[in-house]
């Protein structure tokens, strides 16, 4: 398979692929470290890992510039890292510490870094689809050139905001790329058992939005598909839709052993691990094992260091609970 992929992409840019590989390794290492933190009861609340889905974040975000806008889901660490957020600030946020992206107020489910155009994960499934439409609406009103990318899961397509947001983007011809990161599960239920019709891209097409389906575990295929779609959007073509089929190798949350799926299924899916697949391509194109191992080690070291530094960072002062509620009617003035 690796050689086929190597043949498919002639003029292989090994450095570019290696950068993708490094990004995916960083995402994997970040989440493995976060899960370790959950075990240690240092990471709090719920963690929704995207282990096995890193190629979607990496391939899509490779097509977004700093000025472009990204909105994500509760499973958003990978998207946030791929958009350029700092791993230490993210780790501090997961540990609820000072200097976290959201000052410790959001945690994993509200991870956001507006300084890199990442307008937030969202704890409500599907909610960011309409917000993304609005962000794109503002870009159009202001006559700017950036685009918006909204990533959501396959579970999101059965909520109203999916229909409303896609319809809105199509009606107003807005610069949005909708990415359905289709991991097959809506929380702990197989999405197919609860979804009528032909699925996400068929629904998008029914609203006149051109849609492409791609192997979401093939970072190069994701990157290429997203490149074509974002280029159409940038040239004023209105919204586009990408359905990236992948698989969530872990449970819904860090606390979910995912006992509802056969072991054999998960083992088979591990053989399609997007990181291993890209590593095979890199090896086939001549990158020595030692270099690949060095990238793995660097990613793990970065996230372990981030974790240790975050652990040594104090919690925010409890007075911060009263900050950033609202200006008028501020609870510090109005009390309770």
């Amino acid at each position: 398979m690796a050689t086929e992929a190597v043949r498919r992409i002639s003029n292989l840019d090994v450095e570019r692929l290696r950068a993708h590989h490094r990004m995916m390794l960083r995402i994997r290492a970040f989440e493995e470290q976060a899960l370790k933190g959950l075990e240690d009861k240092v990471v709090l609340g719920a963690i929704h890992p995207s282990i096995g889905q890193e190629a979607v974040a990496t391939g899509v975000c490779a097509n977004l510039g700093r000025g472009d806008i990204l909105l994500s889901t509760h499973r958003g660490h990978g998207h946030t890292l791929a958009k350029g957020a700092d791993s230490l600030a993210m780790m501090r946020e997961l540990l609820g510490r000072e200097g976290g992206n959201c000052g410790g107020k959001g945690g994993s489910m509200h991870i956001a870094d507006f300084s890199v155009g990442m307008l937030g994960a969202n704890g409500v499934v599907s909610a960011n689809i309409v917000i993304a439409a609005g962000a794109a609406h503002a870009i159009k009103l202001k006559g700017e050139n950036h685009i918006v990318c909204c990533i959501f899961g396959d579970g999101a397509i059965n909520r109203g905001p999916f229909l409303e947001g896609l319809n809105w983007a199509a009606v107003f011809k807005l610069p949005v790329l909708f990415v359905c990161e289709d991991n097959g599960f809506a929380a702990t239920t197989r999405t197919s058992t609860m979804t009528a019709g032909d699925g996400p891209s068929a629904r998008a097409r029914s609203l006149g939005i051109p849609a492409v389906e791609v192997d979401g575990n093939d970072v190069l295929a994701v990157e290429a598909a997203a490149a074509e779609l974002t280029s159409a959007i940038r040239s004023g073509g209105g919204p586009r839709f990408l359905q990236a089929r992948t698989y969530r190798l872990t449970g819904h949350t860090g606390a979910d052993p995912a006992a509802y799926r056969p072991k054999a299924e998960v083992e088979a899916k591990w053989k399609e691990d997007p990181i291993a697949r890209l590593a095979d391509i890199l090896r086939a194109s001549g990158l020595p094992d030692a270099e690949i191992d060095a990238d793995v080690d660097a990613a793990r070291r970065e996230m372990l260091d981030a974790y240790k530094t975050a652990f040594d960072t104090p919690f925010p002062s409890s007075d911060q609970a009263f900050v950033d509620v609202q200006d008028v009617g501020d609870p510090r003035v109005e009390a309770y």
Partner: protein, 330 residues
């Protein structure tokens, strides 16, 4: 001063703010044709369809898109037609607009205004008549405004549009045609949390807002003819609300009645009553009273619809009960 209606005052405020700030835009169903009550009539001619934007019947997306557009530096004014329909967009307002600034640690602001016309109006029945202002006062992050006069509809809508946090702006459908003197100053902005003393009085305080203010004032006129002087306070905004004005008044009168059109149970009157009871019980000459709707939906047939109203005569008789000991005490 110019004499214009409550509806025209709202339209004027929006037009002036749109001239003043190019990032202000309005979005909702039928706005290009003037909106369901004509509040937007003619605005599309001046500002064009991008800034007076029609929308699909898609409340969740209207509100959600406004959240995204607000986070991206514009100031959307969202029209929901009826407060009842805004319930289709509660996630977008309560989970998203009200929380974004806080849960993202101050990285963003959501300067949107959502106009939600409320209240009973011409046999509109259960899904077009509700007064749900108290719900929003309960949500951290939101401001809640309930203007009762044309001047306030200009000054408060301007304040709402200039505010950097989300504002739930609830005009009363029965007030659209009410005429009043409105300052022509384009910077006539009424600060939130500043009550209006509608009339002064020494015997009892009546706190109200929105259309109910006018009924309370009429009741106070009637009571004055019988020698009972009520101080009538229009709160104007429920969050923030002018505790200082209410406490100062009750300290003087020793009696408080809160009157509102919405359901009495868990209504905002309970908040006002509790605050006064917690703070001023020694100054109180009798129990705090509330008048609101019974906990039933609004009906279509006039006798049924009227049954839930807090009428002038109910206010008069309640105040008389509250002040029955007045001459004895005096």
């Amino acid at each position: 001063m110019s004499r214009i209606t409550y509806l025209e005052a709202g339209r004027l405020a929006l037009a002036e703010e749109m001239r003043r700030d190019p990032t202000v835009w309005a979005v909702g169903e039928d706005l290009g044709r003037g909106g369901v009550f004509g509040q937007y009539r003619g605005l599309v001619d001046e500002f064009g369809p991008d800034r007076i934007s029609d929308a699909p019947i898609s409340e969740a997306c209207i509100m959600g898109a406004a959240v995204g557009a607000a986070m991206m530096g514009t100031r959307p004014v969202v029209e929901m037609r009826f407060a009842d329909f805004a319930l289709c967009a509660i996630d977008e307002l309560v989970n998203q607009a009200a929380k974004a600034r806080y849960m993202f640690g101050g990285q963003t602001r959501v300067p949107l205004v959502v106009r939600e016309p409320l209240g009973m109006w011409r046999s509109s029945a259960a899904q077009h008549s509700q007064s749900l202002e108290a719900w929003y006062a309960h949500i951290p992050g939101l401001i809640v405004a309930c203007p009762s006069t044309p001047a306030d509809n200009k000054g408060l809508l301007k304040a709402a549009i200039r505010c950097d946090d989300p504002v739930v702006y609830m005009e009363h459908k029965s007030l659209w045609g009410l005429e009043g003197d409105v300052p022509e100053d384009p910077d006539y902005v009424i600060p939130f949390g500043k009550a209006r003393i509608v009339r002064e009085g020494r015997d009892a305080t009546i706190v109200s807002w929105s259309n109910q203010v006018h009924i309370a004032a009429a009741a106070a006129d009637k009571l004055a003819a019988e020698g009972i002087e009520c101080e009538v306070i229009d709160l104007r905004t429920l969050w923030p609300w002018d505790k200082a004005a209410v406490l100062a008044s009750v300290e003087k009168t020793g009696r408080l009645l809160v009157a509102h059109e919405s359901v009495s149970v868990a209504g905002f009157g309970a908040e006002v009553a509790a605050t006064v009871a917690e703070t001023l019980h020694r100054a109180l000459k009798g129990p705090v009273r509330r008048l609101g709707a019974p906990r039933i939906p609004v009906s279509y047939a006039p006798p049924l619809e009227d049954r839930v109203r807090v009428t002038e005569s109910r206010i008069v008789s309640t105040i008389k009960e509250m002040t029955a000991d007045r001459s004895a005490a005096a």
